[in-house]
Amino acid sequence: MVTVAATAGADRPGTRRPGRGLVVAGTAVAWVALWIPLHGRHTLPLAVSRLSPLHLWLNDLRDAVDADRSGNPVLGGAVDVARSAIDHLVVFIGSLISEPSYGRPVPVVGWLGVVALAVLVGYAAGTWRTAVLAGAGFGSFGVLGLWQQSMQTLALTLAAVAICLVIGVPLGFWVGLSPRGERLVTPVLDLMQVMPTFVYLAPLTLFFLIGPASAVIATIVYAAAPVIRITAHGIRNVPRPTLEASESLGATGWQVLRTVRIPAAARTIVLGINQTTMCALSMVTIAALIGAPGLGEVVVKAMEILDVGTAFAGGLAIVAMAIVLDRVTTAAAAHTGSRTEPTPRRRLWTLAALGASTLAALHLSYTFVWAAVFPGPQPAGVIGGHVADGVNQATRWVQHHLVGVTDAVRVVVTDGLLNPLQALVTESPWYLVCAVVLAITWTVAGPRTLPVVAGCLALLVGTGLWRDTMTTLAATLVATVVVMVLGVVVGVWMGRSARVDRLIRPTLDAAQVMPPFVYLVPVLGLFGPTRLTAIVAAVVFAAPVAVKVVADGVRAVPASVVEAAAAAGSSTWQLIWKVQLPLARHSLTLAANQGLIYVLSMVVVGGLVGAGALGYLVVAGFSQRSLYGKGLAAGVAIVGLGILLDRITQAAARRADAPQPQ
């Protein structure tokens, strides 16, 4: 029931213009009508082991770069400088908190010192609540028996985030202030976020060698985009009157930036830092494939032997780290806004006391073994072993008892929805699909979006992987529908109740940073290596974003409007359906857009659990030298698909918003 109401609400803006819905429906009918005589022709298939001339050419290009790399002094010199700088930074942070250093058998700062620092920073950024959370979160690393691995991951993450900020914040200023900068940088950011990491992982180690530098750079490539985008957004959206006031006082551009724009955008910039940190943490398992030590290694090793419990403990430590870093940066962002009032005296005293205790703790952890090495049994810690055993037992129980139900679900969803959709998309001639996509673009997004969509379609045909792209597209669409349904249902629930929000939000955070394979092994036991398992993976990862965006949108609906409607005698369902969802329409389209992009970023993981197609090819290209070019082409196809879907949904969203007076 909820679902029906919610989807109807989401569709309203589209149906308001009489023609649009009809045209889309007519296009679909015409598609099916043409599919019947034409299906199976011109579908551009290519067997997995076959290569197109483009793929061979990309292989040759890789070989040429590989052979040439040492022969080019300028490039070689620059790469060496960057590599050794990053290596030194990581080794320095590591010698402080994670590795035996300076002739000592332990790092400079032991667990007590790090936990005390976390508490201090938590309090300085927020309140006692954040301080306690930070202490408990960091303490959990040791209790799980993963102290050193957690510190290794923390060192790598801190280094990557620091570099992201040094590069990203100034770049964000530029992009925010200069339209030319925006035009130049935005496509690069799209590429960085959607291009699967596996495509550039192997070439990266060619240039930056095996070591911390490669892992940090791989992380930066993926994680730098949010801080750049969000900083630019903050700088751009400073209220006009504030700017005009300052300009009328004769301030120069630089002064305006320093005294008006940056302070006004500070909160937004901290949110960008927050998102970048989350993205960096989601890279730890991939970094483990090129020799980065830490929690990612724990998860990867455990997955080789299908030890879900141990992998879960490792994942739990990643989640704890993510939640601490998230809450601390978010608290700092809230704090940044209210800097104008002087800090209360009592708070200053507390800070001083905490600072003194931290210094004492640092000294202790430098001097004594008990404060340096986390106490508890090795290697699983106080509760790590119990967590692993419990999860393993639960996994076995679930697989044993639910498999009858899940088999039925799999058959219904696959045969009823996925297979027909996939048949329609993959068995159509390529020109028919292109025509349909262009027609839908014209209708929902307008003629101005046509050139970029046509360009993307041409790119997809050009990669030589059209049919695989269509298979991936079908699974992506199904996953996005599920994400939206979940996003609207849970998002409305959370948006209407602060208590529900507090309860659910940690689960959403966990779903976003828990390494996918941890929950995918149980899912594999239930659904087997199938496209449905891949869809589940994508939904787990992408639904939290949609839920959070929808919840924010619903909460932003003015309370006065809701109260007025309630006073007029609307029922709860009427409130949701007629007032809250329509007013949160912009959030719904944003949620659909972000949901799609996040689903696409899971295509590679999907390829690892049975989805085949583009995701599988990307991983195969990473692991087999002769398939490198094909894997790269598959990565490009994923980017093309991402840009295509992103531009259509964004333009459709702008159009849906247009009739509104605002």
Partner: protein, 322 residues
């Protein structure tokens, strides 16, 4: 909240710190950690560890011996296969202990760039092929001959295989001819890509537990074989050259003699670890027993290696002779 409790808390915190400071605890000594054996100079050996348990068993035992019998400093780097080979070129990897074929990488790094050299076989025989769970072999005894696969194709149908029987392929890092084999042997099957070793093992585990039909690509030596002894399907026998044209191949996979590769620099270094890695050679059963201790009995790598080393002195003592 008033002022007093907060003050108390702060005082308590600092107080605890000072108390602990003066309490007796064992201090951290500046000396390097014990255990660094003296004796023959060995230096540092960097072993690439590729992500499968059989390889980890090799690395555990060789690393244990290098550290405890030769006094080397052993660095293990967890790396994907191709990345390990790249490590030869820039000096960040010394040894690959279990190499499956990879003629293309040998051509690049041994013949062309001359940064790596072959270092002898590990004694392990690598077998790649098609397997079924043991319950199926018991129930349908003639299924292990490929001629009869079409007879049973209907059993293997799934939602993924488009009305044909499903042949489940696994890890993308393994070379597969399966699409060509299905076509050239005239089988009514479709190749479905599970996409990872984890997914493949889970699929076989489920198939045996719930007696579901499954035909899949698998390999030995593999720790999972000690949990569920999968049954090999006989394809037309391999003869040298029968797989030369990858599109026309109609024979079983080539049996591999798994081998070791080391960097040129390491091979010329004169370290006693060179002889150890060169002589390292053991049976599939040896590897499986260590791999099983790691994967099933959840021993640490070091403990699993020690257990095997203590039980097989005659085997490893031969490796140390230069």
């Amino acid at each position: 909240m008033n002022r007093a409790p907060k003050w108390l808390r702060a005082v308590a915190l600092v107080g605890t710190g000072v108390l602990a400071l003066t309490a007796c605890g064992s201090k951290i000594s500046k000396e390097p950690a014990p255990g660094r054996a003296s004796g023959k100079p060995c230096g540092t050996v960097t072993i690439a560890v590729n992500p499968w348990v059989g390889y980890e068993a090799d690395a555990a035992v060789v690393g244990y011996l290098a550290k405890n019998k030769l006094g080397c400093t052993v660095v293990e780097k967890n790396l994907a296969e191709e990345v390990s080979w790249q490590g030869f070129a820039n000096g960040s990897v010394d040894v690959i202990l279990e190499n499956w074929g990879h003629d293309d990488l040998k051509k690049t790094y041994i013949d062309q760039q001359k940064v790596a050299v072959e270092h002898g076989v590990t004694g392990n025989k690598g077998i790649i092929g098609w397997y079924i769970p043991p319950w199926m072999a018991k129930q349908y005894p003639d299924i292990t001959d490929w001629h009869n696969l079409n007879k049973y194709a209907d059993l293997f149908k799934t939602t993924e295989s488009g009305g044909k029987g499903q042949l489940l392929d696994g890890d993308p890092s393994f070379v597969t001819n399966d699409e060509a084999l299905v076509t050239n042997l005239g089988l009514n099957f479709k190749v479905v890509y599970a996409g990872s070793e984890t997914a493949l093992i889970q699929a076989f585990r489920t198939a045996e537990q719930q007696r579901k039909p499954l035909l899949g690509y698998f390999y030995e030596p593999q720790w999972f074989m000690t949990e569920v002894k999968l049954v090999h399907i006989a394809l037309p026998a391999y003869t040298p050259g029968c797989d030369a044209d990858k599109q026309k191949v109609a024979c079983d996979y080539q049996p591999y003699d798994l081998d070791k590769i080391v960097s040129k620099k390491f091979a010329d270094s004169g370290s006693p670890a060179v002889a150890l890695t060169k002589n390292f050679s053991w049976s599939n059963d040896d590897q499986n027993s260590v791999a099983r201790d790691i994967a099933v009995n959840k021993l640490s790598h070091e403990a699993a290696a020690k257990k095997w080393v203590d039980a097989h002195p005659d085997v490893w003592q031969a490796w140390l002779k230069s």
